[in-house]
């Protein structure tokens, strides 16, 4: 069978809603579909036995033509053994031209598994998708520590890519999807990994994806008490704290606060980059921001080319001064 269509992994949120990245991939797929002749967009859902009616019509409204459902009550939560194998079996049964997944933990794991089983190419953490020469999928991703951007093509089918969440915008149309129910013999799937225990973590940091104002620290803030200043400023502005890869590597922020290619894509109204030089991989994460304000001691730092407001100088002088000035402004307003 000639490979046809775009197959998308329909990742669920924890309460069986559709994860945003799926809606974003569907929206992008509508655009890709226009460029290649006669393709269908299909979402594969792997979950428990619940009523899928609303989910199917919601997926339809984002552009899905078909929704393939594999349901079993052993699939309530993501399972290392089941989900990658089930998705791969679906990809074999309905050979698509293109397979897209969110560059989430689940998506990346399934993508690695599926591409190896299907002996096909996979481009990870894409920041854009298009159709290139010979109607092939053109996957764009930062490369080399984010210094450069590469357009990557794949010569085998299906052509696979994982895409960062919140890179694309999702939009709805008048459209409905067909449901296709599939039965897969889960008992036949080898259980290689045993989940012994799960502990829910107490999360006290605000999520950076929805933040309106973000104060973000980079390598420049990773010395002395740089991050203490970042937190002080954030408190003053009622902002959320984030950071660069280096800030994460050096333990000043958690993984969920890391902005960039291997972290989160953010879109606040104001993004304040402090001591961040502006590697491409970081810029990928902030380009959807409203206003970008950069504080850096190096006037040639690339961050300034991508900022709206810049100040060159030592953050250990500027930030305390800024906090004092904001205090003063508050007092002025109070009077």
């Amino acid at each position: 069978m000639e490979p046809n269509g775009i197959l998308i992994y329909g990742e669920f949120t924890q309460d069986y809603g559709i994860r945003n990245v799926v809606k974003q991939l569907l929206t992008k797929s509508r655009e890709l579909k226009e460029k290649i002749w006669n393709q269908r967009i299909c979402v594969c859902l792997i979950g428990p036995r619940i009523n899928y009616e609303n989910i199917i019509s919601e997926l339809g409204s984002y552009g899905a033509d078909d929704v393939i459902i594999v349901s079993d009550d052993r699939l309530k939560e993501y399972n290392h053994n089941f989900h990658p194998e089930i998705f791969t079996q679906i990809a074999k049964k309905y050979p698509p031209r293109i397979i897209l997944l969110g560059a989430t933990e689940q998506g990346k794991e399934i993508a690695s598994y599926c591409s190896t089983k299907l002996e096909t190419g996979l481009t990870a953490d894409c920041s854009d998708l298009d159709i290139g020469e010979n109607n092939l999928l053109l996957s764009t991703r930062p490369t080399f520590g984010g210094q450069l951007t590469a357009d990557i093509l794949c010569s085998t089918f299906p052509q696979m890519a994982t895409v960062m969440e919140n890179i694309f915008k999702a939009s709805q149309i008048e459209h409905s999807a067909n449901a296709i129910f599939n039965w897969i013999d889960i008992d036949k799937i080898e259980k290689k990994v045993e989940l012994v225990n799960i502990i829910k973590k107490n999360i006290n940091t605000k999520t950076i994806e929805n933040a309106k104002i973000i104060v973000s620290g980079g390598s420049g803030a990773c010395k002395d008490n740089g991050f203490a200043l970042i937190y002080q400023l954030a408190q003053k502005l009622h902002a959320t704290v984030a950071g660069s890869r280096e800030a994460y590597e050096r333990g000043f922020i958690t993984k969920s606060q890391q902005v960039g290619q291997t972290g989160k894509i953010v879109s606040p109204d104001i993004y304040i980059a402090i001591g961040i030089s502006g590697a491409n991989q970081h810029l990928t994460g902030i380009k959807n921001s409203g206003k970008i304000i950069a504080v850096n001691k190096d006037k040639n730092a690339p961050i300034f080319e991508h900022a709206d407001i810049g100040i060159v100088g030592d953050l250990f002088e500027i930030i305390p001064n800024l906090i004092r000035n904001l205090d003063k402004k508050e007092e002025d307003n109070d009077q």
Partner: protein, 253 residues
């Protein structure tokens, strides 16, 4: 117990050079061991401290990639091997995983545990470890930040994400990818350096790994780079002189 740690030499410079085919020109570049791979070695050495284990560091790369093997031996691994053939050049993750699997099958078939760093700072795909596991039909877990127990039968590990902390049990042989920034790598001691100088570094080429040239390199790689460029999404930066002006600008927003 036999442990293989796969490590990678990555460029250390911001000055990246590319070949005419838009592949990385690794011959003209300063290189280091991928930082998290050092942590995978550290994790392996800690297993060895508690168990009777023999650790082999393996890397695929040009002949100068032997430098990262030297570093691994200096840190304390027992053996090291280089997978080196001009036909391997330009391999994507799929082709790379074929070469690494061939090394396990042909040269280290009695391996109980295969370890990787979670991702390499150059490509950052996080794919090679899982690909090798799937190709060898072995269980795998990524982002491992704690090894709780290991014996000849199984390994239990912790792995976590934003919301949850998971404990998994994997029967050996298995593949684990070590998360960044958890296992602080030890510094080599004088003895380690001496060992690293004395050690004879074995190198295996494509034929010795029983591979053909359609398996590896550019021929064996379905993905290829069509274009590399610096992305241009610049904004017009208005510079302010001091914190006071910055505070005013912030107030306006």
């Amino acid at each position: 117990m036999n442990i293989v740690v796969f490590i990678k030499q990555v460029p250390d410079t911001e000055d990246i050079k590319w070949t005419a085919n838009n592949n990385i020109d690794r011959t003209n570049m300063d290189s280091i061991m991928n930082p998290v791979d050092k942590q995978a070695i550290e994790a392996a050495l800690r297993i060895k401290e508690q168990n009777n284990a023999e650790i082999t560091a393996v890397t695929m790369g040009p002949s100068k990639a032997v430098d990262v093997l030297k570093e691994a031996v200096a840190m304390g691994v027992d053996n090291a091997a280089l997978l080196c053939d001009s036909k391997f050049a330009g391999s994507d993750t799929l082709a790379t995983s074929k070469v690494l699997c061939a090394a396990i099958k042909e040269k280290f078939p009695n391996t109980n545990l295969i370890m990787f760093g979670q991702s390499a700072i150059d490509g950052e795909t996080s794919q090679t470890g899982p690909n090798v596991a799937v190709r060898l039909n072995l269980p795998f877990i990524c982002r491992v930040n704690e090894i709780l127990e290991i014996n000849n039968e199984y390994i239990t590990v912790n792995s976590e994400n934003d919301n949850y902390k998971y404990t998994y049990k994997l029967n050996l042989p298995a593949v684990i990818c070590i998360n960044n920034y958890i296992f602080k790598p030890r510094l080599p001691r004088i003895n380690g350096y001496i060992n690293s100088q004395k050690y004879f570094y074995k190198s295996y080429n494509m034929f010795e790994l029983n591979l053909s040239d359609c398996d590896t390199g550019i021929k064996g790689s379905p993905t290829y780079v069509s274009k590399v460029y610096r992305k241009d999404d610049k904004r017009n930066c208005k510079f302010v002189e001091n914190a006071q002006e910055l505070a005013s600008a912030l107030k306006e927003e």
